[in-house]
Symmetry: C2
Subunit: 411 residues, 2 copies
Amino acid sequence: MKKNVLIIGAGGVAQVVAHKCAQHNDILGDLHIASRRKAKCDAIIASVGEKQAMKVPGTFDSHALDATDVAATAALIRETGAGIVINVGSAFVNKYVLDACIETGVAYIDTAIHEEPNKICEAPPWYGNYEWKKRDLCAEKGVTAILGAGFDPGVVNAYVRFAADEYLDTVTAIDIVDINAGSHGRYFATNFDPEINFREFTGTVYSWQGGKWQENAMFEVGQEWDLPVVGKQKAYLSGHDEVHSLSANYPAADVRFWMGFGDHYINVFTVLKTLGLLSEQPVTTAEGLEVVPLKVVKAVLPDPASLAPDYTGKTCIGDFVKGMKDGREVEVFVYNVADHKEAYEEVGAQGISYTAGVPAVAAALMVAEGTWDVARMANVEELPARPFLELLGKIGLPSRVITPGGEDIAI
Amino acid sequence: MKKNVLIIGAGGVAQVVAHKCAQHNDILGDLHIASRRKAKCDAIIASVGEKQAMKVPGTFDSHALDATDVAATAALIRETGAGIVINVGSAFVNKYVLDACIETGVAYIDTAIHEEPNKICEAPPWYGNYEWKKRDLCAEKGVTAILGAGFDPGVVNAYVRFAADEYLDTVTAIDIVDINAGSHGRYFATNFDPEINFREFTGTVYSWQGGKWQENAMFEVGQEWDLPVVGKQKAYLSGHDEVHSLSANYPAADVRFWMGFGDHYINVFTVLKTLGLLSEQPVTTAEGLEVVPLKVVKAVLPDPASLAPDYTGKTCIGDFVKGMKDGREVEVFVYNVADHKEAYEEVGAQGISYTAGVPAVAAALMVAEGTWDVARMANVEELPARPFLELLGKIGLPSRVITPGGEDIAI
């Protein structure tokens, strides 16, 4: 039984995590939130107060922290008595926060793979570059580290495990489809940190097919998918974190990730990328100022958190999982539909932040209650899926499955 | 009789000016070129050497200069013994260079209106904001200052005067059309300094119609024009320097400037502008770095000078001038067609730089020989047009006129 949670980060996903932790502070205990700018943490705590989200009276404190400073993070973990760290800061801080958790022996949960600011699309599998190097150390020290416990990666990994556990003897193909059919009403915006968001699409698209890595360019391979609620949607083969663990855990299956994009998004993205404005490498202005173009694009784009009040429509994220069952090839589709407006009304964030944040809190609850407190490093598909999905359904993200027989049922 | 020329600036237009001055150094005397980065001046002088452009043996020296430092510019004018300054530096330095010329009593020639870095589209007429405030001082001190002596502004102003002098009793409409039908083969590039180039299209479009300023948005008003050599081309009502002097000198005429743009250019421009990336106002990155987005866009775009070797095709810039002649309404079209490749072969620059630079040297020759050494400030349409256009024809930019009778004849 672990308790007391330290949330790292103060963006849109942290907002969701804070609200959801507050709604379950009877189990999670004291709550703390830390980021470089303490004022952002205070704003989140104030919003938790406004919504009266704390289930029982308790602590929710803010802290200023440079999360790349391992010693400072370890000190804060000790000072707060946190037993679980939910890291939803920038992907640039992940490896440092993980180190601090290993050092202090507390549970670590994140929602994305570590990234180095000046590197994009390192050699696959991406988890091998930073996280998995600490796998033996976690096992040795008995540290629980749940990697990629957002929606994608995260819930979509659990969907594969769920399909494999309940419907398939072997898995032959995993197609994860992420459609945001919502509208923020702006000319152009990203749904989370533009710096991280664009990096997903500026490098090589890695997919796992035929037992090896296949490389494509972004927007090179597109396909229309017919999904529940959101209907027919065009999505493009994209690089994504979960492909890098699912391919290791299901090496005999093809593993592909498909992200939906409208023509307008693709046009704006193509202009920015082709001009070099999405580059993470610094350029020098005529006046001699060294600046990373992507950081300037981030500065002029809307703050993703600011989109929430006007966001309407729904998301549909799900996995088409194919495999063999009793000698026959079958397919299931496991999915969630979330609503931007409902998310905003509940936790003051849009649907993309909601789907990323709620699973991290579900993971924390699973760790707190012991089911997922595995004393080692694990990706989500390596952990029991049904209890996680059932818990998620109770706390705001219900999943459904279209069975091999074509029935569409709640999990 | 004035001689010895100091060129300020070291971009593509300065490259053309340097070559053309060298080709006429028997008249112009000693040549000097100064810019912030002396190495760029040295490269230009080296290219003059390679082309053996100097007509007679003579001086061509380079200097480092911050042209916003009036005292430093005045000192360099005195040190070099320059009688004529051809200012083809950034439009941001113009008022300072003009002050230095007034202080030292030498002739001043530029090709654009002064601009302040943090202001766009000030109140019309733009010449009234900086240059014309020094008109009385120039007259009092007998200083010749020729404003806007490039192609547009410059030659297109002379075209109006030429049409008025030789074909019309009164002028009722001036439509200046600037078409670059050439191709640089890049995804996207500007033909001169992106910072100045984009500023032309990010603010209000001012035109002079019905005796008053009319305001439009960029790309709001488009029209197809059928031009010699380049054929049918779509051009858009745009703001431009020459509208601001021609409207003062021909207040009874409508004065409009039309710039040709392809759909791809408009798309890229629209994306950048709508996102705020063409803004001249600083933004602050998440890391706290203050940076002007437009300067970053400039840093990632191709250096306009680098386009020259691969540039093919032609430009056509001309004036449709309407008016009354002997009680009848008539129209003439006065124009030039230039070729990118020929420009590169002659002076190592593309056609846009060529058309901007050659007229400034023609103006310098007209000042040196006395015809334009008017001991006051003047816009080009206030000076004799035919000798200027004839000289231009001899030194590389021949003009033609389509007469009211429909004849297409050389000037």
